[in-house]
């Protein structure tokens, strides 16, 4: 499947390009905001991995579900969460997506089917099968996508969720964003198989490996897995090979890997790749791309202004939102 390219409508390509670039520009700005201490806490950037979130989510309906990870900005944006609310959330403002209570690791918008970034590795998988179970019971046709990275392959929740999803034929897609590292530890030191797709066979589930730097390939594989789920034929494990360009978190010195490795991966950049394809196919011009970029940058700037101008939560708001009722 890896590398295969399918014709998709120009609109979809443009939309995917725009989403990927939006994630990239948003996070570049987050990096700056963090460095200048306007954004605090633990921040994990998705830069480099954009094709995975976008390839998947471009095949989802608005009411489909995703669960995410500590590295969740990309999934949020791909699922349609607004930049203003996100940036305000990172600032800790009351206009944030979560009123400032969540922060980077907990951005969520249940209305949009975004069931939350998550600070606990592997915790999103059970939530995703639960959303899928709910959809199946309600016969709503919704699909759930669980994003996680290679480190989560060895958390018990992966195993338990894969088994249950297969047993119950749940409409869920498990997406391993294999960026080769869990924090500073390379995959070969944490996962006992070379090819994680093998693990699908332990659950009698299809396992598909995809070039996670190629949004077209991801999108095609996603379309198939999602269709399968929606048909009622059960779950799929997609392993998307990708790379995070930045450190594990902002502040990581990255001594555990060579600069050259990162540089090499950047040659496969998912945004440049799609842009290249579209240019070759004549479906985008340099000018159109620049305009797109400029409008995204303006959107990001607007989000920063919004965040900056927004009020801080009042201290007594700390007590709200624990329970629905007392």
């Amino acid at each position: 499947m890896s590398g295969s390219i399918v014709l998709q409508s120009r609109e979809k390509q443009v939309a995917m390009l725009r989403k990927m670039l939006t994630i990239r520009r948003f996070e570049e700005r987050v990096k700056k905001e963090f460095a200048e201490t306007r954004v605090k806490g633990f921040v994990h950037l998705y830069i480099g991995e954009e094709a995975v979130a976008v390839g998947l989510c471009s095949n989802l309906q608005k009411d489909d579900y995703v669960t995410s990870t500590h590295r969740g900005h990309g999934h949020c944006i791909a699922k349609g969460v607004e930049l203003r609310g996100m940036m305000a959330e990172l600032y800790g403002k009351r206009t944030g997506t979560c009123k400032g209570k969540g922060g980077s690791m907990h951005i969520a918008d249940v209305e949009l089917g975004m069931l939350g970034a998550n600070g606990i590795v592997g915790a999103g998988l059970p939530l995703a099968i639960g959303a899928a179970l709910s959809s199946k019971y309600r016969k709503s046709g919704q699909v759930a996508v669980a994003f996680f990275s290679d480190g989560a392959l060895n958390q018990g929740t992966f195993h338990e969720s894969m088994n249950i999803a297969s047993l119950w034929k749940l409409p869920v897609v498990f997406v391993c964003e294999n960026n080769g590292f869990g924090e500073a530890t390379p995959i070969r030191f944490h996962t006992s198989v070379k090819d994680p797709t093998i693990r699908a066979s332990s659950y009698d589930m299809p396992g598909v490996r995809v070039d996670g730097m190629d949004v077209m390939a991801v999108s095609q594989a996603a379309a198939e897995a999602i269709a399968r789920a929606r048909r009622g034929d059960g779950p799929t494990l997609l392993v998307c090979d990708t790379y995070r360009y930045m450190g594990h978190f902002e502040g990581d010195e990255q001594k555990y890997r060579k600069k050259e490795e990162t540089e090499e991966w950047k040659l496969k950049d998912p945004i440049l790749k799609l842009k290249g394809l579209m240019t070759r196919e004549g479906s985008i011009s340099e000018k159109e791309y620049s305009e797109m970029d400029a409008s995204i940058l303006a959107e990001v700037e607007d989000a920063v202004t919004f965040a900056d101008k927004s009020a801080w939560p009042a201290p007594n708001e700390v007590l709200e939102d624990v329970y629905t009722s007392i």
Binding site: Y65, G102, V110, L127, S134, E160
Partner: protein, 334 residues
């Protein structure tokens, strides 16, 4: 105090809870039940007996022994429109799924700025007295009361059990519903046939008295009532307060009672350190200090794992005798 009505019948603690659950399932199609062996057995202590036949396989779901997986699935389903009842057989097993309770279910609403509802009910067995040893006899509700975001119900009677499970199923926050396994069939009582709900955060005065307040939970409510009967013969009038829910907890009822009696004993089967006994004691030591005529006493399980041998377990658990002694000692300090 429990009301009996024209259309009441005598049920065990377990039967009453089962009935409350079943009636809600009839009413609300968004309720599903998940757990180990819920189909064949109706769960380990048959809490869901007959549910499969009555509600079908879609709503009564057998799970693998994957507590993180299926409890997390319950959280995910609750966040997306269902009202799952997930059975965590014994509370002792919470360690294999703690994260889904503590970091997910309990915190999601808050972390998401209020924009989520998690109407999830986790049923689970607690308590000793059946020689089930260290990994099947714990109470541990204090651990969940410690964690903000999850409500905790610890009923002691059939009437309360039914009314509180109904309430659990009619509100939108995650609830841990703790059932003391010793009470399941050993306690009976008249229970209205129709459905009714008992509000959370309202204590029940199980017995009125004037000399000393005893706060108990689950089985220790019954032990406290037995102790009260003994003490009555000695001229000591005991008030027994049953908070019934520990999150939220009815602080005022406890304070009012201590205001009246001037003396407090907290009886709790959970471990003594950082438990409900210390919680209620500290509440009164802060907000009811001026009412107190004597030190607050705590009668709890001993500070050890639960031993297997019946002889040792008896020494380990709170007992009527220890409650009586504590009451005598408290009252003697007049």
């Amino acid at each position: 105090m429990q009301k009996t009505e024209a259309t009441s019948k005598n049920l065990t603690f377990l039967q009453a809870i089962t009935e409350g659950l079943a009636q809600e399932m009839e009413r609300d199609k968004s309720i599903i039940v998940m757990g180990e062996d819920v189909r064949a057995w109706g769960g380990v202590f048959a809490r869901f007996k007959g549910f499969r036949e009555r509600f079908g396989d879609d709503r009564v779901i057998d799970t693998p022994i994957s507590e993180s997986g299926f409890l997390g699935a319950g959280v995910g389903a609750a966040a997306t429109g269902l009202r799952p009842v997930v059975d965590l057989m014994f509370v002792d097993f919470f360690g294999v799924t703690g994260d889904q309770i503590i970091n997910q279910a309990a915190k999601m609403k808050y972390m998401f700025g209020g924009k989520a509802k998690i109407p999830l009910v986790i049923t689970t067995l607690i308590g000793g007295g059946v020689s089930a040893a260290a990994q099947h006899s714990q109470c541990l509700y204090s651990v969940f009361a410690h964690i903000p975001g999850i409500k905790c119900v610890v009923p002691s009677t059939p009437y309360d059990g039914k009314g509180l499970i109904v309430t659990a199923l009619r509100q939108d926050d995650p609830v841990m519903f703790f059932e003391h396994k010793f009470l399941h069939s050993s306690v009976e009582g008249m229970v209205p046939s129709e459905s009714y709900s008992i509000p959370f955060g309202v204590a029940d005065i199980k017995r009125e008295g004037s000399d000393v307040t005893i706060v108990g939970l689950a089985r220790t409510v019954h032990q406290s009532l037995e102790a009260a009967a003994i003490l009555e013969k000695e001229g000591i009038s005991v008030e027994v307060v049953d908070p019934r829910t520990i999150v939220p907890i009815d602080e005022q009822a406890i304070l009012n009672s201590v205001k009246k009696t001037g003396r407090l004993i907290v009886v709790d089967e959970d471990y003594p350190r950082c438990g409900m006994a210390t919680d209620i004691s500290a509440l009164v030591a802060e907000k009811g200090f001026n009412y107190l005529d004597a030190p607050i006493r705590m009668v709890t399980s001993l500070n050890t794992p639960v031993p297997f041998s019946p002889v040792l377990e008896e020494a380990y658990l709170p007992s009527v005798e220890r409650i009586v002694q504590a009451a005598r000692a408290t009252v003697s300090r007049r």
